[in-house]
Amino acid sequence: MCLLNFNKTYPTYYAIPALLLFVIFFFLPGVLGIFYSFTDWNSLRAEVNFVGLKNYLKIFSGQYDFVKYILNTVRFTGLTMITKTVFGIIFAMLLTHKLVKFQNIQRMVIFIPQVMSFLIVGLVFKSLLNPVTGFFNNFLKSAGLSVLARNWLSDSNLALSTVIAVDTWKGVGYLMIIVIAGIHGISSDYYEAAQIDGASFLQKTWHITLPLLKPVILNVTVLNLTYGLRVFDIIYALTNGGPGHATEVINTAVYSEFSKGNYAMGTTLSGILFVFVMLLSFFILRVLEPEEKS
């Protein structure tokens, strides 16, 4: 006998314990952070004074680079969302296709980077991408492709793209596994019917797989979005925000402000991120809702 009857509608107050935990451990710290963003809280003085919107005005005044960091965060989120989703779907479709052999081994190989520490990935790629001694450039040079060799992490125009590529390499396996689970959930009847109608692989993908994967893709998008906006580790490990400030994002700026002892500015940036993540997640979940209801 199951403890819960999933067909029964339980009273709303059953949600109170979970809601209470969420409010105490997730929502309240966020709100408190927003409260402190209106103060001058810092490590150099004990007293905390109300300063109104001063910290917010500072961020958007243009005198500092904070807006650039916010844009970098958005760029990182948008691009990793696209690359991880596209490659995740491609790998998932390939590795569920009956013609591909050793599927489990290949899935494992693609998934392994996901379980590696960001610091290890950072150190390994810093070494691989060194323009003089690194594997990538030396490989390109030995293959006669010297023209493609670059300063991957120290060129301000390339550094963010390189970080995005490494992050995609690390995270694509996780999304692939989710999409594979989604593909396994699609009834084979659809494909058999399409086969009888003479549909090609691409037609089956476009008219069956992708439409039926829509809820999965939307979930994956929420995951990518919340991860991308909160990104810190991979940038800290690979470039530490450099060269110069070319790869700084909101959370590296938060870290930097906290380390300077300017807690109020750190919480202001965190507050902006908090509101941003909440609004975007809410928006996407609203989009998702009709799918779930249906």
Binding site: M1, L44, R45, N151, D155, P243, G244, Y255, F258
Partner: protein, 467 residues
């Protein structure tokens, strides 16, 4: 209740339980068990002690408990001699007392931020290796709040009084320092200079010509290292002794906010010169990916002709690459025609975390390091040290270098004399990186330095800024 239950009824109950168990999904049961295990594990983990130390029971003798103590020692990679002499001394201390020292070394570029965050989070190390100077110590670790006062320790009176300012707050000593006065210079490969018939440069133009000649010979003129985050800032701040010869009471006026740092035009000139050097290829092709640690090998192999660091670097390089012995010359950095010697009496020092469970053990370790035998081993075992800031310890500075320093006027580096410079050192480093890759101008760097000084002063409610 159960005892009073009729036999038949209890059998039915047992059968009912079995039937119910069979009906329950097995994976769910396993999941529930795992969840209970995880909760128990989490509760148990929360009860463990930091630093891997195990708390002894009250019945255990004091000595046995002492054996379990592990002190965490946080440091940045260039904060400890690369020879590992501090670690060796820690082993000796462990052999004597049973107290283990766990060294946790972090990259230079991340150390200051990490330490501040750890202090703020209440998770700092038992012993912290901190860049200590009188103007930044409070903003960096706030010793009155975070560190154990050490004024009453016997060894304090044996330290050179000149360094006490850097490790004290309100006349109370909080740290222990070992390094003596450091002087910033350019090292040059004497053989390369002799082969190319080059003289040590005394003006910026001469410096440029020397670098061009070295570059034309197929070598890299200067080894620049930006990966550590601090090295690229040396030309800007360690030419402070020159700035003070050009402006009356410069440091005092800057600290009283009677003058803006942007008015020191020589800083911007030097930034422009550095940019020019990078564009002329005098730092080589890969300087944005190089770290300080690689300089010794490149210098010893004769791949580069010059490197900027403090004087201890020559002795360290000679110890690691004996073939360089006698082949390393020095000259002061002639940025903006500077011909003064910048000295830095401050250095990294060790502090004890006030919240450490093992304050007495940490004090014991400091007392052990301060013993004359340990100091002798320290100086002997750390090739990068030319002197210690302790009375009655000899200097290892080469007479050749000493004579050169004595021939020039000397002064104090800017980060020791001017407030709110050292706390933004790594930020300046990032700005200089941005200048090298073409996304910032020297003028913008000056604006940033000034802006950050204002911001830090405002945070500290510095009367010179706020009133």
């Amino acid at each position: 209740m159960k005892g009073r239950m009729p036999h038949k009824a209890s059998v039915y109950l047992a059968e009912g339980r079995q039937a119910r168990f069979k009906k329950m999904n097995l994976p769910r049961c396993i999941a529930a068990l795992l969840a209970v295990c995880m909760c128990l594990a989490a509760v148990t983990a929360c009860g463990s002690l930091p630093g891997g130390a195990q708390e002894g029971t009250a019945a255990e003798p004091q000595e046995a408990r002492k054996k379990d103590v592990t002190l965490t020692f946080g440091s940045h990679q260039s904060g400890l001699p690369t020879s590992g002499v501090v670690q060796e001394l820690a082993k000796e201390y462990e052999a004597q007392t049973g107290v283990k020292i766990d060294f946790q070394i972090v990259s230079d570029a991340q150390w200051r931020d990490l330490l501040k965050v750890k202090l703020d989070a209440g998770e700092a190390y038992d012993i912290m290796n901190v860049d200590a100077d009188p103007l930044s110590l409070v903003s960096r670790i706030n010793p009155e709040q975070n560190c154990v006062e050490l004024t009453d320790q016997e060894w304090v009176s044996r330290m050179n009084p000149i360094v006490l300012d850097g490790i004290s707050v309100n006349s109370k000593v909080y740290g222990i320092q070992f390094n003596g006065i450091r002087r910033s210079v350019f090292f040059y490969n004497k053989k390369i200079f002799a082969d190319l018939a080059l003289q040590i440069p005394t003006t910026y133009e001469a410096f440029k010509q020397v670098c061009q000649a070295v570059k034309d010979s197929g070598l890299t003129p200067i080894y620049e290292a930006t990966q550590n985050g601090w090295h690229q800032v040396l030309p800007v701040c360690e030419t402070g002794s020159y700035y003070v010869t050009l402006y009356d009471d410069l440091y005092e006026k800057l600290n009283k906010n009677e003058m803006n740092i942007k008015e020191v035009k020589e800083i911007e000139i030097i930034l422009n010169e550095m940019k020019e050097f990078a564009e002329l290829g005098f730092f080589g092709d890969n300087f944005m990916n190089q770290s300080v640690e690689g300089a010794k090998e490149a210098f010893a192999k004769g791949e580069v002709a010059m490197f900027n660091n403090d004087t201890g670097w020559a002795a360290e390089t000679e110890a690691e690459f004996p073939e360089t012995a006698g082949n390393i010359g020095i000259f002061v950095a002639p940025w903006s025609d500077n011909q003064t010697v910048s000295s830095n009496p401050t250095c990294n020092a060790y502090f004890i975390n006030k919240n450490s469970k093992y304050v007495e053990e940490a004090k014991g370790f400091f007392a052990f390091l301060a013993e004359p035998d340990s100091l002798a081993k320290f100086l002997e075992g750390a090739p990068n040290l030319v002197s210690l800031c302790w009375k009655d310890t000899p200097s290892k500075e080469k007479p050749e270098y000493e004579a050169y320093f004595n021939s020039l006027p000397a002064g104090v580096v800017m980060q020791v004399g001017v407030s709110y410079i050292d706390p933004q050192w790594m930020d300046i480093g990032k700005d200089i990186d941005a200048m090298y890759v073409g996304i910032m101008t020297p003028e913008e760097i000056m604006d940033n330095i000034s802006l950050r000084r204002d911001e830090l002063a405002e945070l500290a409610q510095d009367p010179a800024w706020v009133n």
